[in-house]
């Protein structure tokens, strides 16, 4: 199935378009051989998801990533924007050692458009079957499923738990990477190192912001033995978010105290470090997996961590699962800010506003946990239907990962979300 599906997609499509073409192809053996060669050099394939999501909270939007501007709840009762996407990929095998991949994805962007973006665009050189290097754009394997997070069909749930996967705004790398695989008895160890940079755009109230990650370096070690997989991921990068500059420039007007606050929180070539640990066991009829991750930066980004455990059992075409996920803020979520006492009334007003702005930023730190249950149903070839129910509890004063929070929202409460998706590959 995968061969027909993926390697010979173009030829199959051409074949079924007209029975006449198929007959001609059957009769002209040489043409079939040529066709085969062309089909092996270029192969087209794709994947997608159509999803609908409903949230019980009408004073804020539930969505899947920080890159989406709206979702289910406040903006609309049922949102198709949370999970829906479509992607096409072309692989070109120029020689047995040189190949290239281009993958384009259309999903709801930060600016509420579905303008397609390039998710993968790289050239790979396969030095040996176990050692390869790529140059170009790759998805960055921050967590176990980061590089396959969009491929709903490949994953057990509607979407990876946002408590962990929402920790990193960085999912892509423009640069180089190398992968080396080593057999150790009956175990396989794979080391992947990446270096490069990336930019990411995110929505803000009334507009959008950009982040620049530079001097990005990543290391991932994956150990597989039988049905067991263990994984360690560590990465560092220097991040700049220009959006914060006006706030901290204003703080710097307030002498040494303001400068100290600005230096503490500003995001200007600030070192950000990630650590992720993951494990899974999947003997076929059931699975259990878990991951933990931490992002740490001496800035307003702060120190945050998340984890989840999930297990499922496969009853024929049905795979019910249960997942528990949690996110916490390990650094401060408030700051006394500038000392107002002794300031002239006009300056005290400005300083108070700056303190409030800083604290509202610190207060958006996500503290929440989610229990979700759901099932995958492989109802037909190459497509699966999933239904997922989740209950999220927010930490005191937190709106969790909800966005477009309205004045009527009560922080520290809970929200119920129902999601239905059809995932497919072609």
């Amino acid at each position: 199935m995968p061969n027909n599906l993926f390697q010979r997609g173009i030829r199959c499509k051409a074949g079924v378009q007209t029975a006449a073409a198929l007959l001609v192809a059957l009769h002209v053996a040489d043409a079939v051989a040529d066709d085969d060669a062309a089909a092996r050099m270029f192969s087209f394939s794709g994947f997608g998801t159509f999803g609908l999501v409903h949230s019980s909270e009408q004073q804020a939007d539930f969505t899947s990533t920080i890159f989406k501007p709206n979702g289910a709840g406040y903006s609309r009762a049922w949102s198709a924007d949370v999970d829906s996407l479509i992607a096409g990929q072309v692989i070109a095998n120029f020689t047995p050692k040189v190949s290239a991949v281009l993958q384009v994805v259309s999903e709801q962007n930060y600016d509420n458009t579905y303008r397609p973006h390039v998710e993968w665009a790289n050239v790979k050189y396969q030095f040996t079957p176990d050692f390869s290097a790529r140059i170009g754009r790759t998805a960055l394997p921050v967590f176990m499923l980061t590089d396959s997070r969009l491929i709903g069909y490949a994953n057990p749930w509607v979407r990876p738990p946002i408590e962990l996967y929402g920790l990193s705004s960085i999912t892509s790398n423009d640069g180089v990477d190398a992968s080396y695989r080593l057999a150790l008895g009956s175990a396989i160890n794979t080391v992947q190192v990446s270096a490069g940079q990336t930019d990411f755009r995110f929505p803000t109230a009334g507009g959008s912001g950009v982040g620049h990650a530079r001097d990005l370096a990543w290391f991932v070690d994956t150990f597989e033995r039988g049905f067991t997989t263990l994984r360690v991921s560590y990465g560092e990068t220097r991040v700049t978010v220009p959006l914060y500059a006006p706030l901290f420039d204003a703080f710097r007007e307030f002498g040494p105290e303001g400068t100290a606050i600005a230096d503490k929180y500003d995001v200007n070539r600030r070192l950000v470090r990630f650590l992720g640990l993951g494990a899974s066991y999947d003997p076929g009829t059931w699975f259990v997996m878990g991951e933990w991750g931490d992002i740490d930066s001496d800035s307003i980004i702060g120190d945050n961590s998340g984890w989840y455990v999930s297990s499922g059992y496969r009853f024929g075409k049905f795979t019910p699962y249960v997942t528990f996920a949690a996110r916490r803020a390990d650094s401060t979520t408030s700051d006394p800010g500038l000392t107002l006492a002794g300031l002239p009334p006009v300056l005290a007003g400005t300083a108070g506003a700056l303190n409030a702005s800083l604290n509202s930023q610190l207060g958006t730190r996500v503290v929440q946990n989610t229990l979700s249950i759901g099932s995958r149903w492989d109802f037909t070839k190459n497509a699966a239907l999933k239904l997922q129910l989740e209950h999220t509890r927010h930490g005191a004063g937190s709106a969790g990962t909800l966005i477009n929070v309205q004045p009527g929202f009560q922080p520290g409460g809970g929200v119920n979300v129902i999601s239905a998706t059809i995932d497919f590959v072609f």
Partner: protein, 143 residues
């Protein structure tokens, strides 16, 4: 006496069941008769077919050859060696293909073609119904 006869008949039933399962084409991993390999564990076979391993334990390159999509022998092979249903196998390869990590094995259109390809290539590995095995290929039992 009734107890022993009942025991005897249940033993006979058990033996019959065993014989029946042996008759329903057992899937075995095969390599060329020219290959130096004599055994391979289920996990080692599965890793080669799932794109996780590219070499045999002796370090030589392994070239997996798959059976036709939808064939009974293919479904039984992946269930028995990798614990994967056809849908799980598609999910597995989707993850690998769409993250640029590799491509699935080459497919032989029939068991006869697969046997011919395996017989001719000492580096190739495939799988066949037990009753298809002849002198040109050899089955690889687990060590």
């Amino acid at each position: 006496m009734p107890i022993t006869s009942r025991l005897a008949s249940s033993i006979a039933g058990f033996a019959l069941a065993l014989a029946a399962s042996a008759a329903s084409a057992e899937v075995v991993a095969v390599v060329s008769a020219k290959s130096p390999l004599s055994s391979l564990s289920k996990n080692e076979v599965a890793d080669i077919f799932l794109g996780k391993a590219s070499r045999f334990p002796d370090g030589s390159t392994a070239v997996p050859i798959d059976q036709a999509e939808g064939s009974a022998v293919r479904e039984e092979f992946y269930l028995k060696f990798a614990g994967k249903s056809p849908a799980q196998l598609t999910a597995h390869w989707s993850k690998i293909i769409f993250t640029g990590r590799g491509q699935p094995p080459r497919i032989a259109s029939t068991s006869a073609e697969l046997k011919r390809l395996i017989a001719e290539n000492p580096g190739a590995i495939g799988y066949l119904e037990q009753n298809m095995v002849d002198g040109s290929v050899k089955a690889l039992p687990p060590p």
